[in-house]
Symmetry: C2
Subunit: 294 residues, 2 copies
């Protein structure tokens, strides 16, 4: 298969579908609606929803069935970016090559747009025309992944670690497992739940997700040091500037790259429970993560 | 029945139960956990969860069944307060007589604590050991009430209206119907859904909720002018200071009080579909709203 073409087509599918999940524009407070729409449309690789679709297909489900949870996942991911970019948080002005939501719409509306996206994700899942039991499993999985034992906790830990030079590898792993790992894992797991995967299959997807999530973060840290600003769409070297501890500190650039490749091979190994012809997209995505920009 | 005793007992029940819905304290990022706990425990009348319990009972359901959704509703309400108090929003330093969450834990953690509470609410509902179809209905109702066509939209509209002297009564009604009305209505409706109410009963609860929601906001506006700072636990006159249009502007203090009383009588009228002995708490709550502090 041609991975680049696959990713492009899937990204375009999500780009097209996600706006259908917005409610109609309200008579008052239009700025909120515009901020939500802007946040959802300024680029992004759509990696998480693509993982959700692929997770559904690898267990034998239909890609159409997973579009609703895939879009809900992208809404949750987008909400977290909008809030993380706020001045009181990471204070980022540029995201995916565009002004961040708070720069464009103001801080208050950015807080509200994030809230709106998070709410909307759960609303969309509740109203999804699908099997009730699976819907509940999906909502539970995503709530846990993004909540106070998941992504939100990871962001708090990340803030707590900023500027400290005593962050251990254990703490760094904890931060990233929560800040980025949990939602990446949940994305592919939710796909598996939607597609009706067995417990063993869901378990394999969970392990796969954990491994690519870690690889993804390690690569992010490496890119922050060696990446091309235009390519990654944000300011290079911002981690060092902010006094963030990264995997590069513990492993060096080459060591970190090696760790990322090892995690990807582990991820690919976990996919062996699935038929060879079905697991190709998830294998490709795992490899894409370490090859993406260097 | 003795309403004061009833409200006190129900408030204590929620105070006791709500902390059981927090996850265990994490090894890192404890500040987030503490901020969430603080936000949930600094007082409050627990009006919305009490409405949920009463809505469940009035349709013949058991109060125990409604404790989970009641606590989830209070989490959603609390998240909205935590975010609304932020400097970039209403910039409030005092809430229920205590420092607001951002004053106590910093702005970033306050954003995250709000996010955590909203997430947790949906997580708790998904994991609730209850009928699947009703759970989904409850999640959908709450998502809609608090989201970008509900409470979040109301807050955006409120910010948009600040400092403008051309806010019409129609716009003011839109703001409050969304900012406070929708979640109050959803609270009693969710109780009705939980208790297995018929469509007619749910409809009556919806109308009741809309009326008390409006009455509640009108009274809030009046209290901001004439209230006792110690009693309401926030700064009196803050609406005028912030250039907010209030119902007092359109109706005057006495006119606004009259409108609130009329709404309450309408609310009580909607309850007539329920047996006389069952509707007493909801009648009492409606009357309590206009009598609470003047």
């Amino acid at each position: 298969m041609e991975l680049k073409k696959y990713l492009k087509e899937r990204k375009e599918l999500i780009d097209r579908e996600i706006l259908k999940y917005l409610p109609p524009e309200p008579p008052y407070g239009k700025k909120l609606y515009q901020a939500v729409k802007y946040s959802l449309t300024v680029g992004g690789k759509r990696l998480r929803p693509i993982l959700c679709l692929a997770g559904c297909e690898v267990v034998g489900g239909k890609v159409e069935d997973a579009i609703t949870p895939a879009c809900a996942i992208e809404m949750i991911h987008t909400y977290s970016l909008v809030h993380d970019d706020l001045p009181e948080m990471d204070d980022d002005t540029l995201r995916r090559g565009h002004p961040t939501t708070w720069v464009k719409f103001g801080q208050a509306t950015a807080v509200l747009a994030g809230d709106a996206l998070l709410n909307r994700a759960f609303e969309v899942l509740a109203d999804w025309n699908f099997d009730c039991e699976r819907k509940i499993k999906v909502i539970s999985e995503l709530g846990r992944a993004s909540g106070m034992l998941g992504m939100v906790l990871g962001q708090q830990c990340d803030l707590d670690a900023e500027g400290r030079d005593d962050v251990s590898l254990e703490e760094l792993l904890f931060i990233h497992r929560h800040k980025t790992g949990r939602l990446i894992t949940a994305s592919v797991v939710v796909g598996g739940i939607t597609g009706g995967g067995s417990e063993e299959e869901i378990g394999a997807l969970r392990n796969y997700g954990d491994s690519i999530g870690l690889a993804f973060q390690i690569v992010d840290d490496v890119l922050d040091v060696v990446g091309d600003q235009e390519m990654i769409g944000k300011n290079v070297g911002s981690d060092v500037e902010k006094g963030k501890t990264t995997f590069v500190k513990f492993f060096g650039v080459d060591g970190a790259k090696k760790r990322a490749r090892e995690e990807v091979e582990r991820a690919v190994e976990f996919l062996k429970v699935f038929p060879k012809d079905k697991r190709e997209p998830l294998e490709g995505i795992a490899r894409f993560i370490v090859e993406r920009e260097y």
